[in-house]
């Protein structure tokens, strides 16, 4: 599989260079379909979709890339630029809660890094415990006690931050409008009146699903229902 992924990736880059963005996007989608989770693939796919004029789907891919490469400047720049092209000018940003401010560390670490951080904390804690068990003398015991306290607090903070992030993304999953103009209706059906309209690229909070319809909410609080193919989950 490794060779196939590399081949598809390199071929996609060639397509992109030649301005064949649809072919490039197809290759990147095939890589993802093989189960590869790579920030570079999501980012490059976002670029290809952006060049094709598919602003909504490009934003989705940039957001996915940002989760995997949270400190990558290219991803953040392209996402910001794509978001600046959205038609819905008034995009109410969600107010950062206390939880988000306290546990901001998860915004700087992707899932793998979070796991590695927690694992490292665990190993340091175990090592300190071992030293404390076999060590002799007051200095060793005091030193390991302080160390264990510090590492334990760091570990608990990391676990709480990860838990909070997982809880938030499960409670308020985000979706992006991927169609040019979408009628948001008062209920899950064509018979309900349109309460407002949103345009491609606008981010919404996803609510419950019913039939072919998805409940969505704006950051400003307005709610309604859209056809499920009008939005894509990040």
């Amino acid at each position: 599989m490794g060779d196939e992924v590399t081949h598809l990736f390199n071929e996609a880059a060639d397509h992109y260079r030649a301005g064949q963005y649809e072919a490039a996007a197809r290759n990147y989608e095939r890589i993802l379909a093989l189960g590869v989770e790579s920030g570079a693939v999501h980012y490059n796919l976002g670029n290809a979709l952006f060049q094709m004029g598919k602003l909504g789907r490009a934003i989705v891919e940039y957001e996915r890339a940002l989760r995997l490469l949270p400190r990558d400047d290219d991803v953040a720049t392209n996402l910001a630029y794509a978001q600046s092209l959205r038609l819905d000018e008034v995009q109410e940003e969600k107010q950062s809660g206390i939880g988000e401010r306290i546990f901001r560390v998860t915004k700087w670490l992707n899932g793998g890094e979070q796991v590695r951080m927690v694992s490292a904390t665990y190993w340091v804690l175990m090592l300190l415990l071992l030293v404390r068990m076999v060590g002799k003398g007051v200095a060793a015991r005091m030193g390991t006690a302080y160390g264990m306290w510090i590492v334990g607090v760091v570990g608990i903070y990391l676990l709480l931050a990860i838990g909070y992030e997982q809880y938030q993304s499960a409670r308020e999953p985000r979706v992006v409008v991927v169609q040019k103009e979408v009628d948001v209706r008062g209920g899950p059906g064509e018979t309900f009146e349109t309460v407002f309209q949103v345009h491609e690229g606008t981010e919404l909070i996803q609510g419950e699903k019913r039939g072919g319809w998805t409940e969505v909410k704006l950051g400003s609080g307005e709610e309604g229902w859209v056809r499920k193919d009008a939005v894509e989950k990040i």
Binding site: G39, Y43, L68, L85, L87, E181
Partner: protein, 582 residues
Amino acid sequence: VGEWALWLVVVGGGIAQAQTIDARVDKTRLTIEESLQLTVTISGGGQASLGEVDLGALEKTFEIVNRSSSQNINMVGNQVSVSQSINFLLMPRAVGKFKIGPLSVNYGGRTLKTQVIEVEVVGERGREVVEEREREGVKEPERVPVRGDLDIETTVDKKEPYVHEQVIVTFHFYNRARLMDQPTYEPPEMNGFRVEELGSEGPVQEIVAGQAYSVQRIRYAAFPLQSGELTIGPARLQLGLFDGNRILQTRPVTLKVKPLPEGQAPANFKGAVGQFKLTAGLDRGEVPVGEPVKLKVTISGTGDLKSVPDFDLPSQSGFRQYSASQEERTTVAGNRCGGEKVTEFVLVPRAEGVQTIGPLEFSFFDPQAGKYRTAQAGPLTLRVTPGTVEEEGGAGGFAPAAVKLLRRDIRYIKPSLGRRDETGWGVVKRPSFWGFHALPVVVLLGVAGYQRRRAALAADTPYARAVRSNRAAKKWLKEAEKLLGEEESVAFHEAVAKGMREYVATKANVPLATVAADTVGDLLRAFEVEEEMVGEVRACLEECEFAKFSGRGTGREGRKTTLERARRCLEGLERAKRRAEG
């Protein structure tokens, strides 16, 4: 509907017993668009219920639109006469002469039959005149009714429209009679058309053929959706008059819908029919490179707005273009439908300078002219400035200037794949992950166990002795095993004896020198060792001491037997110890 039942109980005394049945119609000659009222009456009925009326073949020639019943009781002196009536409102299905009846009714177990009534249904009056005028080319959108006090009619403003061309369908109601209540209107069926109601007019007073009529009209805009013959079905009006209900029905109107001319349509024609114009504008005239500007394209005019497709903006060189928003507003001006369709695009200029957009084109079919037309808008010009302009400063001399940003664009793709599983959460599902993290726990448990054992050895002397005695005995027996093949057997017997003596001395916590063949019995009995085992141990020690002090060794086989005996003794003593510990 073939049967109808009415249950009516007539009560009271002194009721006349002779029963007669009678059927009457309000007219015997009528047009195909007029209704007929049929009344079946039973007079002089007794205390019985009126059964089902068998209408026979009546429903083949007439549609039964309405039914009602009534009862009339007359008292003259002591005589009371009761009559029951059933009224039918009928609409003829065809032109011709028809017989109504005999209708049969079950009454008090008897079957009563009505007489036969002949009626004649004729074609509509005045139709020939109208058709003659139409053949002569005289447009007759609002045909003059010529029938009596009440008349309805459906007219169209054109009989041969193009597909998607608007046709005005007008329903007229002429009235100079007194109505009991508000008429009930049933609009015509217009299958194959997209219909919008334009509104109603009246009632207004109009003089028609020298008579004053109160006239009401309802107008529709009908857009044929396909070519060929399409029919506007009959509209109906149900009226309540003093002499009963009446139904009026219009003639169906057939249109011959023409297809749009083939082979003449411009390449960008996508089905719009009407008269339209195209306008376009930018939300600003100057914009930095890479910054978005909005282009608004409006198609407005009269015609079938639903046939106007989404405006497709051709690729504009020098711009990157993005998704559009759309808005549609329908209006009615006079009797004409129309409106505007606004499409908004976001354009991002790629390079600085004066950039041109368009001209933009939109093609449609003009049904009035019978030809295709193309509306144009633009070209629009946009002045594109550099993204970041550094002011020229410094008084004279050459001052280094900041790099000018010519345009804004996304950053390039990444050349390498990077990690293939960056989410990292997948690793949590692997058993090796948990095995890896269980390792320090195992190490810590091992260390804790070791420390506990050491502490136990240090604190518990009998326990420590027991552990050490067994270990020491095993060490000496192993040494003896090595000496099995040696010529000299004294060293072998010394090793065996030392192993056993050390075991007993350590276990009994006495000096090694005090353990000998003659003392070992007392020492072992203190530990409740069985007498047989005590004897065995003593014998083993005596054998070793004899060999040692006499200097007479035994052969290899003899030494092997001694070693096995010593091992059995140690195992027996260990078993005895475990038994004693419980």
